[in-house]
Amino acid sequence: MKALVSLVFVLLLVAIAWIGSEAGGEVVFGVVLPYAAFLVFLVGFTWKIVKWARAPVPFRIPTTSGQQKSLPWIRQARFDNPATGLQVVGRMALEVLLFRSLFQNTKAEMRTEKGRGPRLVFGGDKSLWIVSLIFHWTFLVILIRHLRFFLDPVPGWLLTLGNLDAFFQVSVPALYITDVLVVLALGILLLRRFTNSQVRAISLVSDYFPLLLLLGVVISGIVVRYFAKTDVVGVKELGANLLTLRLSVPAGIGAQAYVHLFLVCTLLAYFPFSKLMHAGGVFLSPTRNLANNNRMVRHINPWNRPVAYHRFEDWEKEFAKEIEDAGYELERD
């Protein structure tokens, strides 16, 4: 049901862009909305980070996933339990670039064997790790590849990236490997929300919608490139116009391209207000981005507020009888 609602949303977006651009709304879909969406993305993303950052980190609470730094002859797990800023950078880099925590994922299974009773077994499970890693990296490559519509002249490294991506040289224009992988990865990520009973139970509309929206973006992009082709030169002209604040739309960009563009705009505008902000949020996560040097360096809590203590003097009075009974001679200055 939640998936269906999300699908309807995405299809609706497709229809809006298709009909709208055909009905003479090229300027809206080619200029106004891209600017608006990009602005919302920039401001929204920054605002969200600032919003989080306005709350302090009162305590240093890293999750330690390895041996601490203690005695010199005990080997510290530098990346799982960093003790210095540099080691934290290492931990964060592994987390952000390679999804290290997810790499360690396991799957628990209850097995029932005769004469033994139920038994929990745990196995490594790299499936989610590999699929999400593929999705994120291919999406990044695709994003970078699109720079060719905005950079003039197209730099050599960008051509090289495209050529590497089109390494197999099948089809005309050459098929990008990332295009195939990103659809596969998104498809699997979507599929597991249906087939994995646990994931199904936790999924919300706001989980299906971004997945389907991304699939919409990717599929419409593929259509525009391989099937219902558009005028690439016109697209690039539009890119240049947008960059130089020239508010005109070249002719010859078909509705299919506006659909793609509109879905991208939706994604951009939706990004800051959705779970997609994990992209920025992961950098602020206090269980990952802090060194476990708690006993070495004092962490300052800006609101460390006073609390009512039970003072020694009061305690001494309240338990005077017991203290005398114990024969303590409690001294103090």
């Binding site: 905005f150 950079l151 003039d152 197209v154 495209g162 005028d231 002209e237």
Partner: protein, 127 residues
């Protein structure tokens, strides 16, 4: 603890990266306009209309190659001309640099036509 400095630096880095095309354009003196192409002069018209050629010339060339190499057909039924990149196309569009390359460079396209059709520079029209 707020880590204000680090977060502001992070936001700045984010904005710099996301707005990369703007900086790039500024450094290059602004993105150029679409190139003026040197169109051929010999023929009255192209094998297909301009709109089709702009968008899907690669499909046509792909189709031509298949028909010639696989089916042994050499003549294009629509235009009546020989299905040949080097002879038909480059006959008119003799200035490969000024036509094919210029536009491909602009759009950041790096086709592999010339991997096989290996012509001496400017030799297209002599065939």
């Amino acid at each position: 603890m707020y880590d204000k400095g680090k977060i502001l630096a992070g936001i700045a880095l984010f904005l710099v990266l996301v707005l990369f095309p703007v900086w790039y354009g500024a450094a290059q003196g602004g993105p150029g306009r679409p190139p003026d192409l040197v169109v051929g002069t010999d023929a009255e018209s192209c094998v297909r209309d301009t709109e089709t050629m702009r968008i899907s010339h690669m499909d046509l060339l792909d189709e031509w190659r298949n028909r010639v190499v696989r089916d042994g057909v050499r003549r294009d039924e629509v235009s009546g001309r020989e299905m040949s990149l080097t002879r038909t196309c480059l006959d008119c569009h003799a200035d490969r640099e000024g036509f094919c390359t210029k536009c491909h460079d602009y759009a950041g396209v790096d086709p592999d036509c010339w991997d096989c059709h290996n012509l001496p520079e400017g030799a297209g029209h002599e065939r």
